[in-house]
Amino acid sequence: MKAPILKTTELLSKRLSNIYLYSFEQHSANSLWWLFFLGEGIPIEHGITHADDLLYLFAMPGLPSADDNLFSRYVCEMWTNFAGHGSV
């Protein structure tokens, strides 16, 4: 999942004047893992799995902590800044 995105960034950075690459690394007790796999007893430490970034951008299941809510405000600010002005 990651290497194709690095390659995309490398290729497009030669052609686009404004490109951002991020890695989403915010730890939380909430995760979409539980939406996908709750009760399955999967013996895997899921970490920050696919789509966990959406927890901070949209209304999602879970009980957000104070840290989660604060981080959500940062993310929404960055994403809306990017949408409005092309920079975070």
Binding site: M1, P4, I5, K7, I42, H46, I48, H50, G86
Partner: protein, 237 residues
């Protein structure tokens, strides 16, 4: 402001959309996907169409007969069968995405993507709008979970020390489309050295964190080794 949001396999191609919808977007945020991941494209769409039509009881002799029959089905029937097919695919060490990913079409009138995405990125007509793209830290852990649900769990393979030692890494790589040649283990050995060197190779709890790491680099091997044909990769020493 427009927003295109969907499942990653198609989101992966949002960047390609840019070249087709020039002037409609003033920027792009692409979360967790790139069209350069080999699984993000279906390179054998006719075979995939025949496969899914066959599962749904439709004729597969000509594309017209196939399409006419598929159009009589409800979307629920098609989605349900696709979902079943994907569960089976994981048990056979395959991501099962071929039938739902975009394809590179012949360059005919009405074709949407008629060029390899890498070529489009390198030389295509892409508007110079701001782009933000990235991943979550452990993207691939859910792929490992799907594999566990479909195969490792039901077959008790996480308790099978010999299978874990000999087959775990080749099986995970095969799920991402990397198949080693008979008697060859160069790629799986290299991946094991890079990601599992501090782990007990026959113990699931010890292996698992490294396997999560391997899961998110999985498609790296694919895009760099896959020939531009329908042949599976055969890695040899």
């Amino acid at each position: 402001m427009s927003c295109v949001t969907n499942k990653s396999i198609n989101k992966a191609n949002t960047i390609v959309l840019l070249s087709r919808l020039s002037g409609l977007f003033n920027g792009v945020i692409s979360q967790s996907g790139s069209p350069l991941a080999e699984w993000a494209l279906d390179r054998n769409p006719w075979e995939s169409a025949q496969y899914m039509a066959g599962r749904l009881g439709c004729p597969t002799d000509t594309s017209q007969n196939l399409v006419n029959c598929m159009r009589t089905l409800s979307w629920e029937e098609i989605v349900e069968e696709q979902s079943l097919s994907q569960e089976e695919a994981y048990a056979n060490l395959d991501l099962g995405l071929a039938t739902v990913t975009p394809t590179i079409e012949p360059d005919l009138a009405g074709a949407f993507i008629a060029e390899d995405p890498q070529t489009l990125m390198e030389t295509g007509d892409i508007p110079d709008v701001p782009l933000m793209l990235g991943t979550t830290l452990h993207e691939g852990s859910y792929v490992l979970a799907e594999l566990w649900l479909a195969k490792l769990g039901p077959e008790n393979l996480t308790d099978d020390a010999e299978w874990l030692r000999e087959q775990m890494i080749p099986s995970l790589l095969k799920t991402f489309g990397v198949t080693e040649g008979p008697g060859s283990s160069a790629v799986s050995q290299s991946v094991s050295l890079a990601y599992l060197s501090g782990s007990l190779r026959n113990n699931w709890d010890d292996l698992m964190p490294g396997l999560v790491d391997v899961s998110f680099i999985g498609s790296f091997l694919y895009i760099n080794l896959k020939p531009r044909s329908k042949m599976p990769i055969l890695c040899s020493t």
